[in-house]
Symmetry: C3
Subunit: 310 residues, 3 copies
């Protein structure tokens, strides 16, 4: 991704990014990490609006921090998002934000909300997560973390645990992986939370094969990356079913004995699917993943809105 | 309004502004639009506090953006306004904000709240709307938009649709128009939402004549400016009455066929009184009106708090 | 407190500060007051995170203003604190904030929350109040105000009115006074809101003697500082008991006739325990106390996070 290439564009889905785009984005993020004191204020005098119609502390705060570090000002719609916006169309809210800002980072519960916003606004929209498929900056961050810790994304074996049906982080990561050549991708989910068939078909169209498993045990010793997500009780029609299966999608120190060399990622927040005794292990990579959110999002904002040409 | 003239003063009502004050304010806003990259940071190191005791996304965000563009820092009381402030008097809250900031932009549901605040605080108060009469920066913005799009405010024919009884935007606009010489001002409202007699008397004292109508149809072809406001269902004692009349205060593309040359303004947010099919017409001026909110409020903040002398 | 000495440290309790630390902090705050236009931007490019898990307008806004005046950027978790954070551990929330910022100012209802946060995070934590004992920046501010208005802290006679059992401001002030040599400290509280015996014992260990009284009347003419706090109705098992005693912990103009020369402090917000007719008296010091919150907190932030060496 050359900054010129993405300058002024919307970031709706990681599917819109080529492998080369992603590699250039990661290189820019690396640069921001290497030279923290020498950040050019490439967004000086720019206004970034954040509009989270669904709570999301990590994404909102890391985009805010990234924008501020680049010299931008940030205005936040979010405090009013749930109350005021009732009754106003997303269309009009986006037009209002366009009147006040140079770029909008938004999150919305509805599928396609960011696309709709991008059709309404002339300024760039960054999708901070909408519906159950797209959360591009999270998937970029996941891949960037893997690249920094494992040196590459290609050729690795991935296990993705938890909710493959509703978690937008899972779908987005799979879309991102489809730009690379992973050795294998195991999806470990309870039956009701398997990948939807249309997503599976889309991925196959991109030549990304996935294998569905009931339990992590079978592949624990064979994977390089374990990507955890929450399993939400509310997704289960029957609470007893939830209670029966939840243990199979939980990782603790004991589980990881068999998974030497693998790193554990989690978009966070975690509930009880990821034990605290994992934190002190060398394989725990989720806190580093959280930290990398700022430079990765700096790179993204700079590519879309930065005025510096390189 | 020379900046020296309004320096350090409270902005409580547009009635306190002379026609010359308004013209100078508009000239300054024009200047901010002409030279967007050359904004002097006249509020550097100043702290602007926003305190919205009633939600108001547009006013809050456009003041925030305006302040940031002038180099000020913004602290926002609003997240806590509804919860924490329960039990504390407005008097004490204003004194607190005065201790931390150089200017307060506030909104409050009660008539006279901004006046009370101005009596308590030594720093300037900008009334971002209180009670059912005053919202000076909105009326200034309305007049500024008309001036930019129609070239003048005098001599035009105005139709104001909707709630003339409770909508502070309507009363404030009328107060603003009283500083000019409009050719005619039609107030198109259902019977229960007509202008209060004391406001009507006040306006007559300023030599502003208004004519009350039940329907827009009679004057559609004869006006230059159509100013829309929401009609809130809750204002009607009888829901059937609301259902019966609401269509008469709604504007769509078909309605506007007869209103050639007129521009349509709306303080927004809109509900269903303003159809989306109007948006693409040349007469739709409400989005431009929203955009002008930032330079107009920059001019206001700079006049009250800016340290640059001109 | 030399800035070097406190550089990078946590501010959990005023007990961790020596008398000399406090005096150096006050000197630095004095300097910020003397040269308001000449504030060095010692926190430029630093990110301060505010995380208030319990509402606290004054503390949050004064820390925010102080950070902004020193050139820092501020990111605020608070809007989401009550909703999003449900279900996430404080441990993980603090790690997230550490990933995005250089210092965390936090408030939490639970005793020890700031200590826990300091054990989790490598960056400095400033306790903006937790549990019922610690609110170090408030106690520093109280002492700083006394010093500025009375010229000294030693040798004065103090009356502290209200809730000595649950109000963290009272306990923190007593801890702060234990670093000095007050002539006398009267605690005027209803029976159910007396100082807990373990706190009393701790204070005695620091050679701070306190005397408990039922009514202020006996000592009104004999004190130099009257420190007011709210008495919350909810603390009383019996509402009648509250109604019976509340008058004894209320100060008005008439009460103060007997207290010549004494200054009245209150951490605010006030309810009806402090009459408005006191505001205009020379003894009313609580508004000055509020104003001093900004320079005092600037000094604290600069000592912990500032990069300028002196």
């Amino acid at each position: 991704m050359s900054r010129d290439h993405w300058s002024g564009k919307d970031v709706l889905s990681i599917l819109d990014f080529s492998r080369q785009d992603l590699e250039q984005l990661f290189a820019l993020a690396d640069e921001f990490i290497r030279r923290p004191g020498a950040v050019e204020k490439s967004l000086s005098d720019r206004i970034v609006a954040t509009a989270f119609f669904e709570p999301s502390t990590r994404t909102r705060l890391s985009f805010t921090t990234a924008a501020l570090k680049l010299g931008a000002k940030v205005v936040d719609l979010s405090p009013d998002a749930s109350s005021v916006m009732k009754g106003e169309s997303l269309h009009d809210t986006i037009l209002m934000l366009e009147a006040y800002s140079d770029l909008i980072v938004m999150r919305h519960p509805s599928e396609g909300a960011a696309l709709l916003a991008s059709e309404v606004a002339k300024i760039p929209i960054i999708n901070g997560g909408d519906g159950s498929q797209h959360h591009p900056s999270q998937a970029m961050l996941d891949l960037f973390t893997i690249k920094r810790l494992k040196g590459r994304i290609d050729g690795l074996r991935y296990a993705i645990l938890g909710d493959a049906r509703y978690a937008r982080t899972v779908t987005s990561l799979l879309y991102g992986l489809s730009k690379y050549r992973p050795a294998s991708v195991y999806l470990v989910s309870p039956e009701g939370l398997r990948l939807r068939s249309e997503i599976k078909a889309t991925l196959e169209g991109f030549n990304l094969e996935t294998q569905e498993l009931d339990k992590i045990d079978d592949v624990l010793g064979k994977v390089d990356v374990i990507y955890m997500t929450r399993i939400q009780k509310e997704r289960f029609p029957d609470v007893n079913e939830y209670e029966r299966v939840k243990g199979s999608y939980r990782i603790d120190k004991a589980t990881l004995v068999k998974a030497k060399g693998a790193i554990v990622l989690h978009p966070l927040p975690r509930m009880n699917e990821l034990a605290y005794d994992v934190d002190s292990l060398p394989s725990a990579a989720y806190m580093e993943q959280a930290r990398l959110g700022v430079p990765l999002r700096m790179a993204l904002l700079d590519s879309v809105l930065g005025r510096t040409k390189k």
